[in-house]
């Protein structure tokens, strides 16, 4: 851990800010809804990965910890798919 992390941290911060600006830009951009949502989520995930890997030092932790922390993600996606599918299915009285 002798390396100077300062420049890495500064780079990450700039990167996060730029990504945020791009996200805001996308939200005002008039494109197909599906792509907009997809792009926004991708950027959000990229930003989250930056924070987790650099600021939370996940990159320097042991592999196992990283793997275990990623186990809930497919599970949550599974739940989300189930819920979303069901939300779209039912007839709603308007």
């Amino acid at each position: 851990m002798e390396i100077n992390h300062k420049s890495l941290y500064i780079k990450t911060t700039i990167m996060l800010s730029v990504l945020t600006l791009i996200e805001i830009g996308i939200s005002y951009w008039d494109i197909v809804r599906f792509y907009q949502v997809g792009l926004l989520l991708t950027f959000a995930l990229a930003k989250m990965a930056c924070v987790a890997y650099v600021f939370m030092h996940l990159y320097y932790e042991e592999k196992v910890l990283r793997r275990i922390l990623f186990v809930p993600i497919p599970l949550l996606i599974y739940f989300l798919l189930g819920l979303a599918y069901d939300a779209q299915f039912n007839w709603v009285i308007q």
Binding site: N90, W91, V92, I93
Partner: protein
Amino acid sequence: MKNYQSKNINSIPYFFSGFWYKDPPKDVSLDGYRIDNVIHYTDLVIGIYFGIVVAALAYFIFKYRASLGHKAEYDHGNSRKNVMFTGGLGLLVFFSVDAVIEKMAFKDLKEAFWNFPKTENVIRIEVMPQQFAWNFCYAGPDNEFGTDDDIIPSQNQMHIPVNTPVVVQIASWDVIHSFYLPNFRIKQDATPGMITALWFQATETGVFDIACAELCGNSHYKMKGFLTVESEEDFQSWLSENTPEESQDDWDDWGDEDEEDTGVPEDWGWAWKEIK
């Protein structure tokens, strides 16, 4: 051909509960036998498996009890043979029970319960339970729901003709209820804000109970309706008896503010949803 299996494989519950064993309510529906058959098949196979387990247990308890003075065998059961054996038995259970009932269930769902009748000759009913009563609505002469000539009989009275498919759409007025017809082996939750559907066909005439199967408040137990299955002529004459009279509507709501609080309004009903 109505049956997958012979009708009376009830031996397992009978074995345990002896003379207290009770039959389910009489099945008077076209497809109720399918549910009974699945249950009976499951009864049979799990009875066999549980019997084997109990027999093994009894044998082990007798044979390997400590008083015989023998020493236990030192065996971790981790050998490949043992693992294959347990795994194989697990798969055997899966394929002999689970796979079969899954196949039966999917077949039944495809052929009956989720296969809504496409023919014209269908009775369509809207059901709106409230705390603690059942409201029913028939389309009336114009065959459209949500119009002035909808027939709304008195609460808790549902009439259907015999041997005609009945499609029911259900939505709750206040809390969650469940439309439960024990004699037809059918049940469907009524959720506020959402329409659910089911269909069934009666094969015998008579008066049967409608029960609410989902807890809906302190009088949940009293939330009872009556389903009268009658001949086509009786049904039509009952419908015409209940047809609303012209120009009476304007006076109905007058001064009924208090009742509006809890009960459903006079002219409830929603446009019939197409079933996919």
